[in-house]
């Protein structure tokens, strides 16, 4: 019998927070549960949108950081 999974279970699954056993169970459930498949694809879709909406700082900001590091008179720690 296939175990029933919740949206919370799917969330943990897409963020790789489920155990190996849970992974197998969820993947088996995804093969035969159309509603779960739909929830999964919708979840993956929005998370990939979140990935794509990242923004970058300006080159000026990055250059300022690198310049600070180079000019920093703090001693480097040699190990």
């Amino acid at each position: 019998m296939t175990k029933t999974f919740t949206e919370n279970d799917l969330l943990r699954y897409v963020y790789s927070e489920t155990s190996k056993i849970e992974n197998v169970e969820i993947e088996n459930a995804l093969l035969c549960d159309q509603q779960l498949q739909e929830s999964y694809s919708q979840l993956v879709s929005i998370l990939s949108d979140l990935d794509r909406c990242v923004i970058e700082p300006s080159d000026r900001t990055i250059q300022g950081i690198l310049d600070y590091s180079r000019s920093s008179n703090l001693p480097s720690v040699l190990k």
Binding site: S39, Q42, L74, S76
Partner: protein, 199 residues
């Protein structure tokens, strides 16, 4: 020099020995994630640029003075610095929202001001800018979990511990954040990916 095969931990070790190129690679690898985390909290690009610099300068000072704990991972550590600085700024901005210059402009470039100017212009040509704006409009508890899980890469258990709630509450907040984003997108009536999360 790009060294994709070298781990963050190895780059930090090289940087400690004075290899500035190693630090440059670390910055290049993680600048987007750190900047996005800050930006989603403070809602203002200029403030985010300043806090980005402050975060990295703090990281530089910590590493170069030998106070960096090598047990932890570099990115989560850097993101914690950035998150804390952004939250501090956000709280101060909320506490002192009405300080103005002689010409009437807001000295802190407040959240409302920034939303109406830079971001609103971007939205017209950038759907992802709209998504960022919608994230910023989420209830604080939902936005916090979304940023911590998706951009700061904290586990749901770590988020639960950091925010003093159960893991189920953290998961529920994340789920509602995603549901709310979908609803807000529909409300804006902007053509978007029709596979957006439905519930």
């Amino acid at each position: 020099m790009i060294r994709k095969e070298v781990s963050d931990s190895q780059l930090v070790s090289l940087y400690k020995k004075g290899d500035e190129a190693a630090f440059e690679e670390l910055v290049e690898r993680h600048k987007s994630r750190v900047f996005t985390t800050i930006y989603l909290i403070v809602k203002d690009q200029y403030t985010a640029e300043d806090l980005m610099q402050d975060s990295l300068i703090k990281a530089v000072n910590t590493i170069k003075s030998g106070r960096y704990n090598e047990e932890g991972k570099f990115l989560p550590w850097l993101l914690r610095i950035a998150h804390n600085l952004a939250i501090d700024h956000f709280r101060k901005a909320k506490r002192y929202p009405t300080i103005v210059m002689e010409d009437g402009s807001n000295v802190f470039n407040t959240l409302e001001f920034s939303e109406d100017s830079i971001e609103s212009l971007q939205i017209k040509k950038d759907t992802h800018a709209l998504l960022r704006k919608l994230i910023q409009e989420l209830p604080e508890s939902q936005k916090e979990v979304l940023i911590m899980r998706h951009y700061m890469q904290m586990s749901f258990q770590e988020i639960a511990d950091a925010t003093d709630v159960s893991i189920n509450t953290a998961l529920g907040r994340m789920r509602y954040a995603l549901i709310n984003l979908r609803k807000k997108m529909q409300k804006t009536n902007i053509a978007y990916d029709q596979n957006f999360y439905r519930k």
